[in-house]
């Protein structure tokens, strides 16, 4: 009962903040609403018995990634312009996609049994690592996916570093770091 009340409060905050991301004109306010939404989503994760996922949500998304996003908003002076129209031509493609996705998620949610049960532990540290890194033949085999994902992220990072280095291979870019 108590957990259900907490769940409703957190769900309202999450959805409200998510709506604010779309409705706010200012990019920085949008980013802040996204942070609030993510933190309360982490609270929901903790409530339904996976504290590990919740903490990782706070640490990685609300902490690191949103910090980078605010950094970019500030550097690119995006915060100065708050007169961007909310809808333009691109929205024609995005809005149907969002509606279809919402329909799919709603369908899946309606079909699955909705039992709100806070007592079972779904994502403790031990359980998560056991599921992810089960190298047994009969196991789910997530560890292969995990390794491949790691490689993918690594290659993405290398590509980003290469893209960020202008004039690749020229003499100036080599000497840039030493001068300052």
């Amino acid at each position: 009962m108590l957990a259900l009340i907490y769940f409703i409060i957190l769900a309202v905050i999450t959805l409200g903040a998510a709506a604010c991301v779309l409705l706010s004109r200012h990019p920085l306010y949008g980013g802040l609403s996204l942070i609030v939404s993510m933190v309360s989503l982490a609270g929901i994760y903790g409530l339904i018995g996976s504290p590990f996922l919740g903490v990782v949500q706070v640490m990685v998304y609300a902490g690191a990634i949103m910090m980078l996003v605010t950094f970019v908003i500030m550097v690119l002076n995006g915060a100065r312009d708050s007169k961007t129209p909310m809808f333009d031509k691109v929205s024609l493609f995005i809005i149907p996609a969002v509606i279809v996705l919402a329909g799919l998620v709603g369908f899946a949610l309606v079909r699955s049994p909705l039992a709100f049960d806070t007592t079972t532990l779904r994502g403790s540290v031990a359980l998560t690592s056991k599921t992810l890194f089960d190298v047994a033949q009969t196991g789910p085999g997530y560890f292969v996916l995990f390794e491949i994902l790691g490689l993918l992220l690594l290659s993405a990072m290398v590509a980003a570093v290469l893209l960020a280095k202008k004039r690749l291979g020229s003499v100036e870019s080599e000497n840039m770091e030493d001068k300052h």
Partner: protein, 451 residues
């Protein structure tokens, strides 16, 4: 309600009383500000602020060795006008200082302040964990909170609409991201050895094997440097570097709003030194003595504790004696006032010594609590558990105060780094050392311990 009946009243009492530990970082501010000011004075061969006093009728002035300065600072900050420059973003300008200060109250919840209290109550064994939240995510929660607290500085810099604040905010956000990576990676070695994220488990691993600083010396230094950098103090004060950016992200703040940032910074030091003490210096564990041994000889342990405190009081008395001898030889005009104050300290400290020695005597000879056996496990009484918790707490506080002093020591010793030096130190040196350390630790742990 079954949730209330699930625990006895004594469990509820202790569980709720543990929330008082949320205020430890705020109390540490009171310790850290005089420590910083007098410490800076000590390093630069001057007195430091020690002249503010309270006047007590029929006695004279009391200066408390400079501690009264705290009250003056606090009073001044509280009664100043809250002022916002024209053109700031009003909402974010007022919200921003509250964020780091609010996080301060959340952060202490995962630190184990004492070992799990196990005692007998009403014929049953009761176990109360030493941290406010005893979760298996433990230290990750602390990292999550501390990564959120940087948003305060970032928003303050943006909302101030000033170029200096803005640059300070940008530097804060980039530095937080870089050094949190180092912090997390250098911590992973000890987590791998202990096999848990839970800080209580980590401390009990250290208690029964070796301290983290012995098992992971490289990681300790990486962690120390990264956490000094993360608090944003000199020599890593690029975010509020006075020669370049006036005061960085809090240039436009005054009065208690500035005070909130200031207190947030000091509380961050406190939390980080508690974290280092817990991860690498055995946390609440008493050196060379396990908790079981201590509980088996509770009276003796309490007597030794009283003895140590009495020794500290004697050291204080010696200090006062030397001060007053030096002072009596000078011809300062206020020397009689100060000597009278020192006489008061003499009386207080001698009383403390006598009381502590008597307490130690009684604890040693007359206090010998029996343990009961419940379900094949020997379980002590409530008073044994409370005594153990007290000793654990004091040990943890001593360890963390040592690290607080390291912060001040580093600040007043090293010259400050340039921004690009800080970045290359973080990404090119510390990160790589921490990564190599993690790999080596993993290989050795696999070879020695099997799984």
């Amino acid at each position: 309600m079954d949730i209330i009946e699930s625990k006895t009243w004594i469990e509820w009492l202790i569980t709720i009383a543990k929330f008082a530990f949320c205020f430890v970082p705020v109390l540490y501010i009171l310790l850290l500000i005089p420590m910083e000011r007098r410490g800076a004075g000590f390093m630069q061969d001057r007195q430091g602020p020690n002249r503010s006093y309270i006047k007590i009728p029929y006695f004279g002035k009391i200066r408390l060795l400079g501690y009264v300065q705290n009250m003056c600072d606090g009073t001044k900050l509280f009664f100043k006008e809250m002022f916002a420059p024209a053109g700031v973003n009003k909402v974010l300008y007022y919200v921003a200082p509250a964020i780091p200060f609010a996080i301060v109250f959340l952060s202490p919840c995962v630190i184990p302040w004492f070992g799990p209290m196990v005692f007998e109550w009403g014929g049953q064994m009761v176990r109360i964990p030493g941290s406010i939240i005893d979760s298996d995510v433990g230290v990750l929660l602390l990292f999550g909170f501390s990564s959120l607290s940087a948003f305060g500085a970032v928003l303050a810099g943006w909302a101030s609409k000033s170029k200096y604040s803005f640059l300070g905010a940008l530097r804060t956000s980039s530095m937080t991201i870089s050094y949190e990576v180092c912090l997390g990676l250098s911590m992973m070695g000890i987590l791998l050895l202990a096999g848990s994220f839970n800080l209580t488990d980590i401390v009990s691993w250290q208690e029964h094997h070796v301290w983290g600083i012995v098992a992971q010396p490289v990681a300790f230094f990486c962690f120390l440097i990264a956490s000094i950098a993360e608090t944003g103090r000199a020599p890593f004060d690029v975010a509020e570097g006075e020669p370049e950016l006036v005061a960085g992200y809090h240039t436009e703040y005054g009065a208690m709003q500035f005070g909130l940032f200031y207190m947030g910074e000091y509380s961050h030091i406190c939390i980080n030194s508690f974290l280092i003490a817990t991860l690498f210096l055995g946390g609440y564990a008493v050196p060379f003595v396990t908790t079981e041994t201590m509980q088996a000889h509770m009276g003796g342990s309490l007597a030794i504790l009283c003895g140590v405190l009495a020794f500290l009081a004697l050291a204080f008395l010696h200090m006062i004696h030397r001060y007053s001898k030096k002072l009596a030889a000078t011809n300062l005009t206020n020397r009689f006032e100060i000597l009278r104050e020192y006489k008061l300290y003499n009386i207080v400290a001698w009383t403390a010594v006598v009381v502590l020695v008597i307490l130690a005597f009684f604890a040693w000879f007359f206090y010998n609590p029996q343990s009961m056996v419940i379900g094949g496990v020997a379980v002590g009484s409530l008073s044994t558990a409370l005594g153990t918790a007290l000793i654990h707490l004091l040990v943890l506080v001593v360890k963390s105060v040592i690290f607080c002093w390291v912060w001040i020591w580093v600040r007043w010793t090293l010259p400050r780094f340039r921004y690009d030096h800080v970045m290359s130190l973080g990404w090119k040196i510390i990160l790589n050392i921490a990564l190599i350390n993690l790999v080596v630790t993993a290989v050795i742990a696999k070879l020695v311990g099997g799984n």
